[in-house]
Structure formats: structure tokens, C-alpha cells
Symmetry: C2
Subunit: 247 residues, 2 copies
């Protein structure tokens, strides 16, 4: 039996947005990846560090996190399997934030020099990876809009819509159900809310039956309804085919 490629989710994610030739996929496979597992809560890229590798999430959930002086935190992104979390470091001197595992994660690291060599040999690969960072930026803009202009429950709903679509791209949803292994504290730090208000916002979504959430398992019974409620427009995810809803 053939081993599933560690790049499978990454390729799913790329191909949902662009065509990727078999040769290009082979180029990515040929990179000298080094695998590593991270436990939940492990901060595997340190704030302020200078790195010489970039990091791809193979499985599990990770997050970008910024710590404030008084100990409060804000998460600025959630990353799922297939996300090339840390292409930034290829360009940035010093990390302005940390990257932490939300669940236990499998990570694949590749050195900057190997990436640069690949770009030298096949310049269009830079465009392909560039695009992934541009889409990450689009997601961040959506977060800005949510933080600035949506109520707490709608913001939470929007986040779940986004996750559902992104996870469906990498085939991690079933009938509108997906894993989302976060504590309410972590959720609060994504939404820029207190933990108490996060809890109440979640209960509001439960009460209106827009969302079912047991432990780490989220179900969206009626995606269109939730998307409408949250003013979710998936354009920013830049998918070739917008899924009508969860599969």
C-alpha cells in the first residue's frame, strides 16, 4: 500500500485555487521535508525568533498568537492541515508573533535555502507559494472586518463558516461536521472577547440551532442559514468552485 503523501492536504488546498501540474507537485514532494510532531499547546515557532525553515501543517490545528504585556492574547489566524504556516519567515527577519499547536500536530519543515533553490530552478513555484500567502492575507482582512463590525455571535458564526469551507477543501468535513479542538479560552482569544461572553455567544448559536457543538466536534445543520446570519461571503477564500455548503 502506498503511503499517503504528507503533502496531500497541501495539494488539495492548492488545487482548489489553481491548477498544479504533476511536475510541480513532484517538485514540492522532492523538497527535503523534515517531519516533527508537536503536542497540543506547544509553541513551535517562538515570538521574536529568527528561523531558517518554513513550516507546513500536515495534520492537526495550529494558530498564530500575539501576547500582550498584561498577559492577554490575541490569535490572528487558525491554521489547518495543508497550510504553509510559516512562509513569512522566508521574508521577515524576526517573528512578530508565535505559532502554537492547538491540537497535537504533525509538522513538516523545509529550509529556506531549499525553497530558494526550488524557486531558482522553477521560478513559477514562487508565484504558487506567494499566492498561498496572499490568500492568508485575505483571510486576515476578513478577520479585521469581523472584529470591527460584527457582533460577538455573528463573528463566531463567521469563523465557523470559514473553517467549515476551508476544512471541506481538504476533505475534513462530513455532513457539515468537523473537528475544532479548541477551548473556549482559545476561542475567546480568536474573537477578541472575554471567555464568558464567548460562552454566551456560543450558547446563542446553539439556542437558535445554527450550530451544534459537542466537545471538539462542530456541526452546522444548515450552512446557508448560518452563512446568511454571519454575512459570510466566501469570495475571499479564492476557491475555483465555491462549495454550496458542507459536503
Amino acid at each position: 500500500m502506498i503511503r499517503e503523501s504528507i503533502l496531500a492536504p497541501f495539494l488539495l488546498s492548492l488545487r482548489a485555487r489553481d491548477s498544479v501540474s504533476p511536475e510541480d507537485a513532484a517538485r514540492l514532494e522532492a523538497l527535503p521535508w523534515r517531519l516533527r510532531d508537536a503536542k497540543a499547546d506547544e509553541e513551535f515557532i517562538l515570538e521574536g525568533s529568527q528561523t531558517h525553515d518554513s513550516c507546513l501543517v500536515v495534520s492537526g490545528y495550529a494558530t498564530r498568537i500575539r501576547h500582550l504585556s498584561d498577559g492577554r492574547r490575541q490569535l490572528t489566524a487558525v491554521h489547518i492541515a495543508g497550510d504553509f504556516v510559516d512562509l513569512h519567515s522566508l521574508h521577515l527577519n524576526r517573528m512578530d508573533h508565535a505559532v502554537t499547536a492547538l491540537s497535537s500536530c504533525r509538522l513538516a519543515f523545509v529550509s529556506h535555502s531549499a525553497l530558494l533553490d526550488m524557486f531558482e530552478a522553477a521560478p513559477h513555484m514562487a508565484l504558487l507559494l506567494w499566492k498561498t500567502t496572499v490568500i492568508d492575507a485575505a483571510i486576515q482582512r476578513a478577520w479585521i472586518v469581523c472584529l470591527g463590525r460584527l457582533s460577538a455571535p455573528k463573528h463566531l458564526a463567521h469563523l465557523l463558516c470559514e473553517l467549515c469551507i476551508r476544512l471541506s477543501v481538504i476533505e475534513q468535513t462530513r455532513n457539515g461536521t468537523f473537528d475544532f479542538p479548541v477551548t473556549q479560552q482559545e476561542l475567546a482569544d480568536m474573537l477578541g472577547l472575554s471567555i464568558v461572553h464567548t460562552n454566551r455567544s456560543l450558547q446563542e448559536l446553539r439556542a437558535t440551532e445554527l450550530v451544534v457543538w459537542n466537545r471538539n466536534r462542530v456541526t452546522i445543520p444548515d450552512f446557508a442559514k448560518l452563512a446568511d446570519y454571519a454575512e459570510f461571503d466566501p469570495t475571499y477564500l479564492n476557491l475555483k468552485n465555491i462549495p454550496a455548503g458542507p459536503n
Copy 2:
């Protein structure tokens, strides 16, 4: 007398973060730029549009804006001279937001195909421009943190710190003074606040003499003090030399 290059601020911005050889600067100069002026409030890149050019701000102020269904708005970025506003469109199918002039602006457009030709001829140029989009993304992360975890006055203070540093890079500050031609409504839409509360937050900064703001002219008398108040850490702007303060 030699005409000042329309790329002068862009090169200042690039060189504050990276070394750019004269040849590379010449490559950028050689692109087939088309100049265009935009009046204040003109939406020069439409939400939902598909474009075949990218756009650089030569002078003036522009902003990325997202409109919500009920007419409310959220600005997700402020762009100043030297910002390559719209490299995104090189990668994204459809704009998920509009780009609008805050003041009258001079813009320089270049076709995607010309950019791609340049990358073909000189692949490292893609890395250079990629980097600018990565820095934009870092700024957006900072905005997320501000929106999520800073009080209104601190958020405003943080925004002014960021602008002051970015403007000083392109030599648009003098003694801590710079132009910022926005209405309080626009400011409110950046900060995710109501206009009334924006006004009161501004007055608080005035009362504590952290900021002087007359018309469109902002002065920061003591940058270190304001930065401390706003928990501003300029790491994310990725400058080679962090200016100690305004010049």
C-alpha cells in the same frame, strides 16, 4: 533638472527593509507604468472586480474598504505613497474589497503581464515584491490585535504610531508631524468604532497631550511616550533600522 522618479517612495520603502541593487531598481523603473490621478473618495478598484493591472500609490493616501450589507464599512488597511496596493490582484480572481482614495492620489498602474514578464526575466524580483505583500499581512495582523485587545484610545494611538513610522520611512514626516487627511468617519471605520466614540477617543489623546491633531495635520510630541501607551512594537514593520522616533 531631473524629474523625480515616480518610484521614489516605493524604493525608499523597499530599501528600508532590504537592499535593492541599482539594476533591480532599473527593472522596476522600466516597467510600463501608466499614471492616473484619483480624486479623494474615488473608488479606483471596485469590490468584486477582476483586474489585469496592479496599482502602486505614488502620492496621497488610499484605503482598502469592505462594505457590509447594512451600509456599515470596515477599512482594513491604509496605504501611503510607495505602497504597492494591489499586488493581490495578481493572484486573486475577484477583489473581495474595494480600494479607495482617502486624499487625492497619484497612482501608477502596471499590467500583470508586464510583472510576470519581469519575473520571468529576473525571478528574484518576485521575491522582492512578495516580501512587500508579506509585510502588508504583518500590518494586518497588528490591526487584528489592536481590534481585538486594545481600548479605543490605545488603538487610535497605535494606528498613529504605525503611520508615523511608515511615513518617516518615505520621508513624509518632520519633527513628528505628518499629514493624515481623513474624516473622523473614516477613522471610525478603521478602528471599528462609532464616529462619536472615535471623537472622544481622539479628545482623550489630545487631553493627555499624547497627540496634537489640527485639521489633517498630526503631531506626536513624544513618540516614545505614545508608543509606550499604545503598546506599539515596530518589529512587525520589518525595518532594518528601527527609527528611535519621528525625525
